[in-house]
Amino acid sequence: MEMLDHLMLGFSVASLPMNLAFCFLGVLLGTVIGILPGIGPLATISMLLPLTFGMSPVTSLIMLSGIFYGAQYGGSTTAILVNLPGEASSTVTMIDGYQMARRGRAGPALAVAAIGSFFAGTVTTMLIAVVAVPLTAVALSFGPAEYCALMVVGLVSSIALASGSVVKAIGMICCGLLLGLTGVDIYSSQQRFTFGMLPLMDGIDFVALAVGIFGFAEILRNLESGTSSRPLVGRITSLMPTRDDWRRIAGPILRGTGIGGFLGILPGGGALLSAFVSYNIEKKVSPNSAEFGHGAIEGVAAPESANNAAAQTSFIPMLSLGLPASPIMALMIGALTIHGITPGPNVISRDPALFWGLIASMWIGNAMLLVLNLPLIGIWVKLLQVPYRLLYPIIIGLCCIGVYSVSNAPFNVYMTMFAGLLAYALTKFDLEWAPFILGFVLGPLFEHQLRRTMLITGGDASVFFTRPISAGLLIVAAVLLVIIVLPMVRQSREQIFVEED
């Protein structure tokens, strides 16, 4: 009953005309910057932050968070249509989404992304309302040992992202791991792979790298064909999912929401992991697993639901404890601080209108996004029929602006170009980049948590097996490894026997 009162309070705050207007403005802006390659929600929110000083705290938070989850929607559009990830989590959506688009199924892919995100958003809003506080306790019980084990699960399952050779996938993960180490090691203050360059001290920027690897390299590859006016995608069949599609996406959306909802509350890396953990689970349990990597609709539905669910639940540690789980949440804390509200354990009880208003606005915002995005699908798909010679210069221009804005310096633009050329060359050898990206993101997190664990325990590694959550996760990782590697071993043995015959 108390819960209903809270939600009523929330909706009464969120449906004030002012708040509705800024919620809409936020999700609209978010969708737009999500679609524009290279300009992420982090840059946008930090630029708009000063504009929110004049608003009431709840209005500014509603708008800023609208930008954040609106960008998740928009980001998947670019990922599906032009193979450009706005942020790490859309790397996974790209794998099958872009393949669907190339087969003329961009419409259903976009629709499923929007519907999956909406469902996930709705469920997790309820989840936050009901169990935000107990969930926080679970998140806090995740210590370095548990994170470390979780990263092992992530790294092992990233092998499964590859649709081709497993050996090459492992190679790419290792390359990603190594490049991910670039920067200053926080434990020893030693520089790694920086060549003494200041811009590399914080490591290689993710956006710069991903835009180069996926965007620029893809453009180079398409230019190869020599025809400068052919539209980007195959003939468009239908815009909405078919009845068969609906049947196929129900399970993935449900599972994706569950996984994303849980992993999202873990500070640091949870949201990214959720997208591809759910992708890998679908790849294993789906009757259509052979289709993954070639345009399986489940491969869009699962990660999109998961990453939107995680985006919503990542607010829990911020609102209930004042802990920023990501740089974006740190910005939200900054926004609240400016209004004289310090997020912390007291916010829910001291400022219930703020907390519940924000949560209700998330649901309203998600509904707005669905209404906004479904009719736009037709327009986005048409956009792809714009000839290369117009579309590509625009994309490259926008990418450069976005990458430049990361640190207001040209260094990252050079980096993007270099990454694009390198990726183009290596793709010639059938090397896949999704495992690379996951190695790049998860590797440093794994190293960080491993060293943290060892420092805390004084070098006693048994902690990984004596703590139940960590032990459980490591068992999952071991089972996954067997499932992934066994078919490969069997296959290569069969090949040997064939040759002997």
Partner: protein, 317 residues
């Protein structure tokens, strides 16, 4: 009760007293500023330094009628912006907003291409009230009890964010000859998370912990700055708790490339000092649960030199 270290507070107070005589109009050359001033923040938007810089910029714009554009140049713990600032013209149109740590510690760790002596110091905006905190139900209430716990258990862990905090914990471990281990991390939020989850025994924090103390989830073990912290005035300083370790002194400062004309320097110093006392700025500091504090030009230059000497001695091989 308040112990004055390094003579800085004295300098701050005298700077404050002197400037109250000339309200809201800094003494500036006739043609300065003739165009907008850019304030370059060494850290990302939305962070502490950024908020302080923006609050001050707004206050100065209102008081002096100038236009100030705030930009962020994050990266490498403030080294990115400082190295860039050093190469800019010293004409007073570019002001860097940064921290004493970024100026004093980065050059001691690696070759970042600048040192404290490459800049002119205009003033400062706020001191970070750092503290050593633990969960409320932790089995120790002060530094000596924490040391005792480390002795009994064999080791105790303290999550830190930043080399200065790590050095402090190492000093304490050596001083009391116990295994007090600093656990470095990705930032203050991670350190606080580890402490709240009970994965470490304590943590050193600059701002996030104040709210936790007010909520009753955490308690202050010791102030680790040069005086008692206002949010927990009953808890003693390091010295009061029997430690000789060097307290952490960390201010948000405003600098320009070295070689500023004295008239322009005076003008900017006064504008900053008046800005720090502006009502809007004072309100913003209250939101931070802190207060505005300007050590003045000389006070900041002296602090930067002393901190640099200290960290060079501690960190350079």
């Amino acid at each position: 009760m308040i112990r004055i270290t390094l003579g800085m507070l004295g300098a701050a107070l005298s700077a404050t007293l002197l400037s109250t005589t000339s309200p809201l109009a800094a003494e500036c050359p006739a043609d300065f500023p003739s165009k907008p001033i850019t304030m370059v923040v060494s850290f990302g938007a939305g962070g502490g330094t950024d908020t302080i810089a923006r609050a001050l910029a707004t206050a100065i714009e209102q008081q002096q009628g100038w236009t100030i554009v705030v930009e962020n140049r994050p990266g490498a713990g403030g080294a990115n912006a400082a190295a860039w600032l050093k190469t800019q013209p010293a004409d007073g149109y570019i002001i860097g907003a940064t921290g004493t740590d970024a100026i004093a510690i980065n050059p001691a760790i690696s070759d970042v291409g600048y040192s404290w002596a490459d800049f002119d110091y205009l003033g400062s905006g706020m001191q970070t009230w750092l503290g050593l905190v633990a969960l409320s139900d932790a089995p120790f209430d002060d530094l000596q009890e924490l040391v005792e716990l480390a002795r009994q258990k064999g080791r105790a862990t303290v999550a830190v964010a930043g080399i200065n905090q790590e050095i402090l914990i190492k000093q304490l471990a050596e001083e009391f000859d116990v295994e007090l281990v600093a656990i470095p991390g990705a930032g203050a939020a991670e350190a606080l998370t580890s402490a709240l989850g009970g994965h470490v025994d304590a943590t050193t924090q600059g701002t996030l912990h104040v709210e936790q103390i007010e909520a009753g989830k955490m308690k202050l073990i010791t102030s680790i700055i040069d005086r008692r912290v206002p949010y927990a005035p009953d808890v003693g300083t390091l010295e009061e708790q029997g430690s000789k370790a060097q307290p952490l002194i960390s201010h948000t400062i405003f600098i320009t490339p070295k070689g500023l004309q004295p008239e322009i320097a005076t003008c900017l110093e006064q504008a900053i000092d008046e800005g720090v006392k502006a009502e809007s700025y004072v309100k913003q500091m209250e939101a931070f649960k802190n207060e505005g504090l300007n050590l003045g030009a000389e006070g900041n230059a002296r602090l930067a030199r002393e901190l640099s000497e200290f960290y060079n001695a501690m960190l350079k091989p």
